[in-house]
Symmetry: D2
Subunit: 474 residues, 4 copies
Amino acid sequence: MFDKLREECGVFGIFTKTVSDVTMYAYTALYALQHRGQESCGIAVNDRGVINYKRGMGLVNDVFDKEALESLNHGRIAVGHVRHSISGLNNHYSTLPLVVRHIKGPMAVSYNGSLINSQELRESYELKGAIFHSLSDAEVIAYAVTEARIRCGSIEASLEEAMKKIKGAYSLVIMSPQKLIAARDPNGIRPLCLGELPNGEGYIAVSESCALNAVGATFLRDVLPGEIVVISSDGIQSIQTHCANKGSLCVFEYIYFARSDSRIEGVWVHEARMRAGEFLAQEHPVDADVVIGVPDSAIDAALGYSKQSGIPYGLGLVKNRYVGRTFIQPTQEMRETSIKIKLSAVESVVSGKRVVVIDDSIVRGTTTRIIIKMLRESGAKEVHVRLSSPPFCNPCFFGTDIDSRASLIANSKTLDEIRDNIGADSLGYLSIENVEKVASGANCGFCSGCFSGRYPIDIPEEIPKDKFDSRLSQ
Amino acid sequence: MFDKLREECGVFGIFTKTVSDVTMYAYTALYALQHRGQESCGIAVNDRGVINYKRGMGLVNDVFDKEALESLNHGRIAVGHVRHSISGLNNHYSTLPLVVRHIKGPMAVSYNGSLINSQELRESYELKGAIFHSLSDAEVIAYAVTEARIRCGSIEASLEEAMKKIKGAYSLVIMSPQKLIAARDPNGIRPLCLGELPNGEGYIAVSESCALNAVGATFLRDVLPGEIVVISSDGIQSIQTHCANKGSLCVFEYIYFARSDSRIEGVWVHEARMRAGEFLAQEHPVDADVVIGVPDSAIDAALGYSKQSGIPYGLGLVKNRYVGRTFIQPTQEMRETSIKIKLSAVESVVSGKRVVVIDDSIVRGTTTRIIIKMLRESGAKEVHVRLSSPPFCNPCFFGTDIDSRASLIANSKTLDEIRDNIGADSLGYLSIENVEKVASGANCGFCSGCFSGRYPIDIPEEIPKDKFDSRLSQ
Amino acid sequence: MFDKLREECGVFGIFTKTVSDVTMYAYTALYALQHRGQESCGIAVNDRGVINYKRGMGLVNDVFDKEALESLNHGRIAVGHVRHSISGLNNHYSTLPLVVRHIKGPMAVSYNGSLINSQELRESYELKGAIFHSLSDAEVIAYAVTEARIRCGSIEASLEEAMKKIKGAYSLVIMSPQKLIAARDPNGIRPLCLGELPNGEGYIAVSESCALNAVGATFLRDVLPGEIVVISSDGIQSIQTHCANKGSLCVFEYIYFARSDSRIEGVWVHEARMRAGEFLAQEHPVDADVVIGVPDSAIDAALGYSKQSGIPYGLGLVKNRYVGRTFIQPTQEMRETSIKIKLSAVESVVSGKRVVVIDDSIVRGTTTRIIIKMLRESGAKEVHVRLSSPPFCNPCFFGTDIDSRASLIANSKTLDEIRDNIGADSLGYLSIENVEKVASGANCGFCSGCFSGRYPIDIPEEIPKDKFDSRLSQ
Amino acid sequence: MFDKLREECGVFGIFTKTVSDVTMYAYTALYALQHRGQESCGIAVNDRGVINYKRGMGLVNDVFDKEALESLNHGRIAVGHVRHSISGLNNHYSTLPLVVRHIKGPMAVSYNGSLINSQELRESYELKGAIFHSLSDAEVIAYAVTEARIRCGSIEASLEEAMKKIKGAYSLVIMSPQKLIAARDPNGIRPLCLGELPNGEGYIAVSESCALNAVGATFLRDVLPGEIVVISSDGIQSIQTHCANKGSLCVFEYIYFARSDSRIEGVWVHEARMRAGEFLAQEHPVDADVVIGVPDSAIDAALGYSKQSGIPYGLGLVKNRYVGRTFIQPTQEMRETSIKIKLSAVESVVSGKRVVVIDDSIVRGTTTRIIIKMLRESGAKEVHVRLSSPPFCNPCFFGTDIDSRASLIANSKTLDEIRDNIGADSLGYLSIENVEKVASGANCGFCSGCFSGRYPIDIPEEIPKDKFDSRLSQ
């Protein structure tokens, strides 16, 4: 998939015993999580009980210069966040981590997910005197924890209590003056795992394992669906009162969100994508000369299709590494340029060939249409499009920001109409049956609601229809 | 006074019936209030009930570029804020206006002052479940208003209720979806006045009248101590239940904070400063050839001293208009440069003369010492220092951020010691008796607590001693 | 004068024996020269024969951050430059100092002035193979020096030779690997003086003496008209073969360009401005209550008018110190705001008074009209405008960038028409006779060509008419 | 190869008959050429004879914002340039295109290459009065053309004359008021090709064909070694007086510099790299389970090795797309992070496998050592390194900026020592014999001097030894 779906958020937390400057760990980890969110980012560091933070719009590279890092550079506990993009909202009001002050101590909250009862909770707190600064569900969660905390003793007991109220998808990393807490909703819809620093220096909680390698930590285990992990100077403690079932991990994490080199619930993302490609070759075989993938996310599936079909894999499309977000749109006379400047066909690979091109999904169809045109202009005789996921026919209530146009094209057009619209010789989607098998062997069940319409939680009827378009998920 | 005391904040609000882009008014007014705070600033605009805002560290010039203004550029009500500087704190957490969301409607709060019971209130709200994002008293006030609002109907009734709880100095401008509220604490310690746009287009509430001229509005009247002014499409309404006494305006507003061309409580700041100079000439006469002032704030008092004493006024010191905040400190070999680059002696004015130099106060003495040295190097035969305010011998609890070194020099050294330390031929401070008369004819009484130790409100004993150094006033 | 005429350039050079980081001297001096040019600036530093430099558009404050200064921070000789603004040209091609490489050694050239035969010289060099990078006369001068240098031995002998060819106004500071050269055209139209560092550490050449104080140096003497001063490890050497006459210093340097605390040719600028005010009081007396000046440049003349007339001086207009160059123009509804935000009338000074307002010149009249309107709105009963220079009736060929509208209003309207146009009760310009006396006692004669039409050099007829509008002077 | 060798420059020129805003074409093309130089870039546009330009340090994305593009946005002819990085020099003095003014008309010069007689020419021009602003050979070329032009009539005749003097590698795009000129040195060491806009709207000259696709143009042909192509309103004219031989294209253009989807002298870069991988498999076979490539430049060769050897290709290393040039180096405790943050091993691909890893060259060995360590930590049983080029044993005089450490490791260590140093199980370089065959079928001969020591031009003995380290090539 090429620049279509809006991505997830990424969370990070670190607790060390001996290291005195965890900021660089957070900074480095956020680089490794950047694919989960490019709109804003932030780091909060605990300097002997005082929480300092820096948040801003833009990439890690934009927000954190030397001065910013140095201003945070003392502390043994930190949390970080990268956030995805939803255009049209004044999102700078809602950058994370959320940092709040309270008589029971300050708290920083990093969050990935989407609550289904946030509006209801928000109103109930407001009627008790709460005021909200942001649009983020993280602030609702902070109130739920705080409300419990006035009665309960510890922050973990408060979170345990709060989790009885908050419903939906959430992977949380919370920092208190003394502790780092990692928690996952009872369905485990968003990933979260634990790592260990060398020599027992400390622990990390992070959305994806790829960030562990970046900071020199080793993978320990996934946080269980519903589990609360408490990391303190006493070590790791696990609270499992909300652990009821196997969980329902978002299957689209494997297909698109996560990075190839991450392992989620025991299954490598690269392997799952390879398998998606293999299933695709079984479901939609075609007589062709070369299999190519749309970089970067569909390369793995293309290798899987090639392996299963025996058709050679080729480097048929290359991506320009220098096109930033600020590419200025050219004039009318140069239409298609904004895609052509990012992607190029390699003529020597596709010329005179029957080409199978693998992508992970179709949104509006425009990008796919231009890619097919480029391939034909470079001499491809046939272009067969294969998609490593089923069509989006349903909304996601748990944080996948599906472009409504993606749903539209899938619901309003037949397969043949889409094929004709994009100009392909043939078109094939992965089946719902097989998409649930791409990560077979995982320690969990899956949510494929956006494809199948079957959700692990009952969705209240009163959730406004327009949430389908503009969910503010984190 | 030259770059010594930390300054106040400035608040602004506008309500119009017909204008659709009040952002430019706020922007222009903040320029005119910039002398009250250079650390951060912000504007919040009400676009048919939705509050958008932009806040940032730096001058109005730094924070608001064309893009920022355009992003806010719709709405008929707005509030703005400039904030002063206290080094050492992570003040970017506490930029204003504070914008909060609530089931009763959003609210934006601009605030100048300092509460004496903010810590007590903060804790009581936290024990009811409140969480705080900032260190600002504005957030405490927001909770006090919100708490009342759940019970009371209107925002003005809620503020009226809240004012029973909050104690200290505050000038407030609050924006709700439909209204603009201006209010001053019952002692009226910080200034706040009302203006009117031409042709009855709308109203403005602002810290100083100088900002009214800048936006083309005319002065209406000061907000009364304790008054709540409600501006809505129904016009102006006044609530005076907290108006008990004549008030105790901070006298230092006349001496230093406010701009020469502002009128506060019926007295022009320029006139008050002239009078301070005149008193000074009466209290500390000296046989001399020329009277000069340290630009910019002591020029008026120098003219007053000249007028009273008959000694001619001269342009003996000029200020470099191009030295920004980022002047990079030169090497050891070039000591004194950072002052010399900002201020120069005009040799043709002072050479061979007995010079009276007027300043408004002394902090550490370093700057005064260098100024005297510059004047002597330029040929001054004698240098007589006169200060248009008494020595700072007491803390301020109401928002004047007195450098503790200013208090130190005044408390720990005798007048003769200070004179010798700065290298003056003679030294004279304005008396406490006369400082309270500089604005005689005003519609109010005065607070001169930082000079006299007499405060209009009882100061709780438990206020931590270190608040003297590092009050977070707004 | 308030933001009307475009300003001059400023040049600086330093040669030291012992100091190893002259960059900070150049940086500090450019701040003190900033009033002579705000469009661009630059510093070139000689690090043991290698010339490094940094130039850029904007104020010293914009172009030189810590990193830029550190990148230059080695060397014992340096030159600097500030440049004025001419809108509409791509002036970033022509920032100075010019730095050129040549087999006889590199050279950096700082320049203030305007040549009258630059086009002719430029073409003659081009026909010999020269190529030009910039539009600056400095490059023409560099070619003239280089051409001579191939034949002559030393850089000073080459400059001596070159000065036979270049005609017009120029104050030059040239740096070679071993020497610093300061030179002034034979008419000495633009100022240039020498200063000495403490303890014989080195020498400085600079446009105005005010910059000497800023860096802790003392005034030595003015460079003579036509003189070439060579500063090297052998000390100071003077070449006076081009010193023919007393010179013709631009009188507008005293009226407007230079800073109050500078001394040029033995006369203090402040004194000359006072005297202009005194002459004005004699030429155009008026019965009034207060004399005020338009800040900053007309304050001195206002004090002179007050002294001569006996009418008290008052602080009737104040300038906002925070309005940078990027103030964003407000909407139509807020016309006049861009001036009102920069200047304010002090009502308590002018209300009910007959006011004499001193400015140094009128360009279009718009600004003066708005100032008068502001004064009347603040209660002034009468407003009498007095200008401390005669009307601009002629072009300047030597670097004063007179706005053609200034010439237009002076040539096309009668005095009465201008008075009515700006809305003054009376209007008086300083006479040409007296403007030439403001600096009486100076060591030189004067050029008042822009007022009188009499120039110290014959102006070639073929100088294009449009040079009047858009001279590229430096 | 991963971030090791410094890259080449890229040149671009466009001539249109009908399009009025060629700036967007230049901007888009420079994005497509960005891989050839990331240090600085620039565009010059010809607006009816007047050349405007913008140059700056940084990526196209950094230098050209909307305002910069709009300031250039008129003209029918343009040239552009991207420049590579050589640390330690003040390269901002030498950004291109060079723009010079001359009585025969202005000229803008874009240049890729390195002259071997530039110092000699530079001195000869200086002795005739020339002055140089930059360190770039482009300025020497400009003087050579200008010198000829005073005698010759046209710019193309002047270039033809100049080419008799300048010796070395150069691909030039020159813009005059009426023409666009493209020229290549007689050995054709650097690439340059021509493209055509749709509907005969105009022509393009550019370093690599990949940029033609980006702007919607089609490939026409390569410029011949020694050819001068003149594009004007009369169409295309070819001057072939310097076309003597087949040429000697730099073979490293295929191996590393150029982009996979470019075609140079009739051979696709992707094909040449595949072939390099195939030769490598023949020369250095190994019993292994998976072949992986170091992204991005070694992926093609890895596919070639896989194809030839039959060992499956795997996605064993992935590159982080978000790591910009400003990644801040972490503390000592996190060594290796700067590479680990950019590259990750995909554990599921390499774990338990015997891995062949293909790179294009080794510089210091540090990066390769860390990559091997990462692969072993991810479970690789064996790691066999194969390089798609021979060792660098000789300097390049034609613009390839070989890191002297690359030469050092190749000259000072045996193959076994390098293998042990990097920790590989085996190591194999492509042979010199085969590197010259990777582009067999091309219309030209090759220069492989950096590998073989055999150069197409006699290198003068007096070329300073240190040029090996710090050549300023463009």
